[in-house]
């Protein structure tokens, strides 16, 4: 019976099965790992080498197209960024303009005795000797020659010339400008004059009056050129010389004339030309 079973063929099969089972057992047990590593690592190296070459080869042919696509996308994104940045700038400008207009509106509400027309500053005088600005409102908006111009801070000047849609404003800093003022603390009156350099000075203050530094100057209304009680500036320095009738001084204007962007024109004040009455 055993001899029948142990035929050479069966014995060979049995040995093969035992060898395979043994190898499987050794592999599952981990005893063959070094052998596998030793035999597989050349294959992995070869595959890695081949894969890298293939990728390089593939990039060589595909990258120009990808670069073109990326460049196009980059340009598009840059355009979008530029557009958004310009929108931000425009919105910031609108915000700044709105702030100015709100402030002017507040000024108009707190000074209800006057009627106002808001205007934007669109230009400045060409000659460096003169201090004028140009605004975007003219006779079509009800403006007339001589109307006073103010901001929320104080007095700016008066309309010197106008056309239908624009006006030229003579600033109080102009050399040919003079404003009758009163000093709030000292209780005396004086005259504020401009100059070719854009600075303003106080003149015609009686020599016996005591003027303090920092005293506030407001329009007096004398002369009929400007309405009374509009801020003009503050006294910076005063000087009085011997044998003169009046003191003079320098004035810090309340309005920043270098950054004027919007103004209010007082439309219900008609200036009076008293020059024919001057002897």
């Amino acid at each position: 019976m055993i001899n029948k079973l142990l035929t050479p063929k069966n014995l060979r099969n049995l040995i093969i099965i035992m060898v395979v089972a043994g190898v499987l057992f050794l592999a599952i047990s981990g005893y063959l790992t070094p052998v596998f590593s030793f035999s597989v690592s050349p294959l992995i190296s070869a595959q890695s080498w081949l894969s890298q070459r293939y990728l390089a080869f593939s990039d060589f042919f595909n990258s120009p197209r990808d670069m073109a696509t990326l460049r196009a996308q980059n340009a598009q994104l840059e355009n979008e960024v530029a557009m958004l940045q310009s929108e931000i700038v425009a919105l910031q400008e609108n915000l700044a303009q709105s702030d100015i207009l709100y402030t002017l509106l507040d000024f108009a509400r707190t000074n209800p005795e006057h009627e106002y027309v808001a205007a934007t500053v669109i230009g400045r005088e060409i000659s460096p000797f003169l201090q004028y600005i140009i605004i975007d409102k003219g006779s079509n908006d009800g403006l007339r020659h001589g109307m006073p111009v103010v901001t929320q801070q104080g007095l700016v000047g008066r309309i010197d010339a106008l056309i239908s849609d624009a006006s030229r404003i003579q600033l109080i800093t102009d050399a040919n400008s003079s404003v009758n003022v009163k000093l709030q603390t000292a209780g005396v009156e004086g005259l504020v004059r401009g100059s070719v350099t854009g600075e303003i000075s106080l003149d015609m203050v009686p020599v016996d009056s005591e003027v303090q530094i920092g005293d506030i100057l407001m329009t007096s209304g004398l002369g009929g050129t400007y309405p009374p009680n509009i801020f003009v500036g503050q006294v910076l320095t005063m000087q009085s010389k011997q044998n003169v009738l009046f003191q003079t001084g320098s004035v810090q204007p309340v309005v920043d004339f270098s950054n004027l962007s919007a103004v209010l024109v007082i439309t219900n004040f008609n200036s009076v030309d008293i020059s024919p009455l001057v002897p």
Partner: protein, 167 residues
């Protein structure tokens, strides 16, 4: 005709730039006058004998824009036109030099006339301040801007004066 159109358009553009931008660029109290610089550069490049017509129109516009009396730009611009014709005949081998010399002379003339006008209308004018704080810085700025304005007008001149462009 074509040069008149280009010159007039350039003048208007320069006037807008002057009022909106360049009048605010100051050294002390002086500022540049690119309108005058444009007129100087244009007169130096344009050989048209009837150019004085355009110059008078430009002076009229400048006079109406500015608070200065209109006769000041008329006198100054005609002076520029006349001297530019002399320079074209004698100094055109060095147009940039002509531009600088004429800019200096025209700016000085304009500033002197402006100060004279203020003196006549009895403005309390401090000549020392006017000279140091306004006139000299204005001359300096004009001299500095004369070079780029000259270059720009020369480029425009390629289209405006196709046959008579110099430099």
């Amino acid at each position: 005709m074509w040069s008149y159109l280009i010159g007039f358009t350039g003048f208007l553009l320069t006037a807008v730039l002057q009022m909106s931008i360049f009048s605010q660029w100051k050294i002390l109290s002086g500022s540049a006058d690119i309108v005058l610089l444009f007129v100087v550069a244009w007169c130096l490049h344009d050989r048209n004998k009837q150019l004085w017509l355009l110059v008078i129109v430009m002076a009229g516009i400048a006079g109406s824009i500015s608070a200065l009396p209109a006769y000041i730009p008329i006198v100054v611009y005609l002076f520029v036109f006349r001297v530019s014709k002399l320079f074209q005949a004698r100094l055109m081998q060095s147009p940039l030099l002509s531009m600088l010399v004429l800019t200096f002379a025209a700016t000085l003339l304009q500033l002197i006339l402006s100060m004279g006008y203020l003196f006549v209308i009895q403005v309390d004018l401090n000549f020392s301040d006017a000279l140091v704080e306004v006139a000299l810085p204005s001359v300096l700025l004009n001299m500095l801007l004369a070079i780029p304005i000259h270059a720009i007008v020369r480029e425009i001149g390629v289209y405006a004066f196709p046959k008579g462009v110099e430099a």
